[in-house]
Amino acid sequence: MLWQHYVFRRGMGVSDMWDRLFRDRSLNLLYIGGRGFDPRAQTTIEQFVRSVSSSGAKVDAADLLLVGFERYELDGDLRAATEENAAILQDRFSVLGQTEVLNMDARDEGEDELSTSNALRKGVEAILTRVPGRTDIVLDVSSLPRVAYLAIMTGLLYRLVPDKTAPNALAAHNVNLQVLVAEDSRLDSVIRSEDPNADLVTIPGFSTAMYAESMQDWPMVWFPILGENRLGQFNMVMNAAAAIPSDAEICPIIPHPSRGLRRAERLLIEYKPLLFDKLQIPVSNVLYVSESNPFETYRQLLGAMERYRKSLTILGGCRLAVTPLSSKLVTLGAGLACFEMRLGKMDDCGVTMPYAEPMRYVATKADLASANSEIASLVLTGNAYA
């Protein structure tokens, strides 16, 4: 297990950790953020810049890369919020360095729209060209769509940890990769995502197990991570052609324990007609993961995946599919588990992350203004593991 010991801080602990991480050190920083409407990114960047400035670090170079998307349908308010957010982020970061915008859509010449998977691949490729020479890479997922931050995080990890069996693999030549999240599960649940794309997205690096004909006869175990108001996306993934076969073992993942004490119960009620009435999934298949600690989610999920892999080897191999529909921290934990499983040998197991991407986000100005988030930081590689 790569992150048997891990560094995870939240709230006040994050600033303390940054103080120690950056103290009296030279920094060549790449800060990747979203050019989205979510105002939580402002809090994160503000605290980060303040910590770096006060830590006495010598900033050799610092670049803010704002990853933007034009493919989503937003109403006028959200579009204005996106522009305002981008200006504020650029302004706050100007103390440390320059800002660059990277658009992750773009069309292909003479083609239909570029598929999301291909757009993500191109985007990650462009980000990776900016990695060499960096001492610190920060990925702030606060205003990034789920598929984007999963693709970027796993893409960076592939680059920094190419071989998990290498000694001190996570030291990654002392490149500190940390993922920042401004978590506010209330705001997450009021931002409505609609119009799921009929074409499934697979996170780059995780498509083989989904599509390879030579693996189609292997049994599939599907771990959908349940979130509020995601039934449309859940259905879309389940019913998409060539996605989840009828004989797949389905193990729903529910965030529990959680801040909202009845959250798990509400989710079970929301998904009951589909999971238990229609698909008749045994209740014992349900997995519970911590809502607030992504490394716990990672451990639980990785453990379950390993157990299935071992049990199903006798059938030639298995395919493990994870569909993250829940909040950011749980999604990050699931992404880490998939990354680690994917790094193993592929001759008896394949890992995939199918997802139905919503094309429209709906939220009111008042909802966004009332964001009350707590910052969390996951340090994934670097000095802490050396």
Binding site: D195, A198, T202, P204, T208, E213
Partner: protein, 634 residues
């Protein structure tokens, strides 16, 4: 008490075992399949999702064929088996003779890296070629009854003359060797695809669809016998390909002039995408089959009713909560006088009010006198007749303003002017204004499905839930009244409407456009004169309006409208019918509302009533919605 699953909730093609599949499969579709669909050519099957494409294709896969074969002596399977026997799919002694190779285009082809056209096409062909080989060999092991521990190496391969020309596929004489080659080749393509930075695909590009030529020229030998001499290549979900990939596949498959049938299945298409390739001749090389015609279309409604009833009844047989029988016997198809007493009194009150208003007018004296004679018996039929009479009076009043004819109208004239359309309008108005049930009975249930099996099943699932609830509540009469049915079906229709934004890529706009069309149709339908009896359920774009929508280099909103309409047709939310030109109007295409959505908007279920709209109307409706007006007697 244990609650069993609803037998109508499962989609047949994708979530049932082969044994269940063959039990639920309706042999009617085999009966209606044209003979030439089994000839060497490219055949395209089209329908909205749930229209039965995958069901049809799955019936020809080796596992399904074996399930048909093994259960051939079972009564409910016999008809399907006999039809397959007639098609030469089975030999009465040797079993399945056809190797159906089934592939889906949803398997990541659209995610192949974009780039130079030749590289992209080469990679697409390479992936398709090795998948045809892999799926064929795996399917073969099923037909040969190979056990899990028996390798494919037991099967020998031999080739006919055309195979000498193959370049992309090695001519191994052993199935195991070829399978390993194909696995390795596919893995090497995917290893490249899964790398974030990819630049070298040269080793994995094919110049031709050799997989198709291989499939038609290879012979399989097992224990000295030839296996599966007949072949069928089935490629599903063509709409999942990129536009260029789809065009390439159709063009190259057609140009190869295959000697085996190649079945391509895709969603219905509206507003674009020419199917024919250069040099290919429709009829000989490439043939199209709309699935709704195979199920029995609007013209052959009787067929649809029979086929759909059979599908519903087969599902009912796999459960044991409700006593066995047909679904129709659990659905009341008539209204008793006592059911509509209150509604009858309200209609009588309206009739009297109108009669009083026109009391001084001698012109309708005889008509109203005739109406008075009907009031003796309260029945749904009387309600319709009274409302028909009021519609005809309203029509005559409107016409009189122009004609100024004052002589009284004889009762014979009333009968002459009354028609099935007027009665149809009266029936839906009785539902709209007085709450007399309209959406009930097996016939209307099948009409609501819009020629789509999946929709039929989801509606039937709602009714089954109603029956189950009756059982739980220990109700003595296990039959759903017309009121019960209408309530359940309206709730199902509402759910369908509410799910549109959550289930479609342009769902929010599509929902807005459909709501606007619904409101427009209601406005036109529920006028006292019922001018488009029985009602309007669709909108039409004339040829010149369609040309505006089809224009590729046009404004963004028109592009979005094109996408929304195309997606709505592909998802069966709208269905299209061509409308011919007349002396006063040019030809065009009518976009009818999905029939379940008609239930949601309270519209009749018949086709035929439409009104022209402009592109500008549609754009405004899609972006801003449409204000609703009050109308009718309500």
């Amino acid at each position: 008490m244990a609650y069993r699953a609803n037998p109508y909730l499962e989609r047949m093609s994708e979530r049932t075992s082969d044994q269940e599949f063959v039990r639920l499969f309706s042999p009617r579709i085999l009966e209606r399949m044209p003979d030439d669909a089994f000839e060497g050519a490219v055949h395209v099957f089209r329908s909205p999702p749930g229209g039965g494409k995958t069901t049809l294709l799955r019936a020809f896969t080796p596992t399904a064929l074996k399930a048909f074969w093994n259960a051939r002596s079972v009564d409910e399977i016999d008809e399907s088996y006999q039809r397959l026997l007639l098609r030469g799919v089975f030999d009465p002694t040797a079993g399945p003779q056809l190797l159906g190779v089934f592939l889906s285009c949803a398997s990541g082809y659209a995610d192949l890296p974009p780039g130079a056209a030749t590289a992209q096409e080469g990679l697409f062909r390479a992936l398709l070629n090795c998948r045809i080989v892999l799926r064929a060999l795996r399917s073969l092991s099923v037909l040969a009854n190979l056990q899990a521990d028996q390798p494919l190496d037991l099967i020998d391969l031999a080739y006919d003359e055309p195979a000498a020309d193959l370049r992309a596929i090695p001519l191994y004489t052993n199935a195991g060797d070829l399978s390993r080659w194909a696995e390795q080749r596919e893995r090497s393509v995917y290893t490249q695809l899964d790398l974030i930075s990819r630049d070298n695909f040269e080793g994995t590009q094919d110049a031709r669809l050799d997989g198709l030529l291989w499939l038609q020229s290879v012979r399989y030998l097992y224990q000295g016998k030839t296996l599966a001499p007949k072949r069928l290549l089935m490629i599903d979900d063509l709409h999942r390909l990129r536009r260029t990939q789809r065009a390439l596949l159709i063009r190259e498959a057609t140009e190869l002039r295959p000697s085996i049938p190649v079945w391509l299945a895709e969603r219905s298409i509206a507003l674009g995408d020419e199917l024919l390739s250069q040099g290919a001749r429709e009829g000989r090389d490439l043939r199209e089959y709309p699935m709704d015609e195979l199920w029995g279309n609007a013209k052959g409604g009787g067929q649809t009713l029979t086929t759909f009833s059979q599908i519903l009844d087969r599902r009912l047989h796999i459960q044991n909560l409700i006593p066995p029988g047909t679904l129709s016997q659990y659905l009341s198809d008539q209204l008793m006088p006592s059911d509509v007493e209150e509604q009858f009194h309200n209609v009588v009150a309206l009739f009297r009010k109108e009669s009083q208003r026109l009391n001084s007018n001698t012109r309708y004296k005889e008509w109203f006198a005739r109406g008075e004679t009907m009031l003796r018996m309260s029945s749904s039929r009387t309600i319709e007749e009274l409302l028909s009479l009021l519609i005809l009076v309203a029509r005559d009043e409107a016409r009189r303003q122009l004609a100024l004819q004052l002589e009284p109208l004889p009762t014979e004239e009333l009968e002459l002017r009354d028609s099935s359309q007027v009665q149809g309008a009266a029936e839906i108005m009785a539902n709209e204004a007085f709450g007399v049930p309209y959406y009930y009975g097996i016939e209307r249930l099948c009409a609501m499905a819009t020629n789509n099996v999946e929709e039929l099943l989801s509606l039937a699932a709602a009714l089954y839930d109603g029956l189950r609830a009756k059982l739980v509540l220990r109700r003595a009469d296990l039959i759903l009244s017309a009121f019960d049915q209408e309530k359940l079906l309206r709730a199902a229709a509402k759910r369908k409407r509410e799910f549109i934004p959550k289930a479609h890529t342009e769902g929010t706009r599509a929902a807005r456009l459909l709501d606007a069309i619904g409101s427009f149709c209601r406005e036109k339908t529920f006028q006292p004169t019922a001018p488009y009896a029985p009602g309007v359920t669709g909108v039409r774009f004339s040829l010149s309006e369609l040309a505006k929508i089809r224009q590729l280099r046009t404004s963004d909103t028109i592009n979005v409208l094109r996408k929304v309409i195309a997606e709505s047709v592909a998802e069966n939310l709208l269905t299209t019918r061509e409308s011919a030109a007349s002396t006063s109007r040019e030809s065009g295409t009518v976009f009818y509302l999905n029939r379940t959505l008609c239930v949601h908007y309270g519209l009749p279920l018949q086709y035929g009533g439409w009104q022209d709209i402009s592109t500008q109307d549609a754009v405004e409706w899609m972006e801003k919605g449409r204000a609703t007006n009050r109308f009718g007697w309500g």
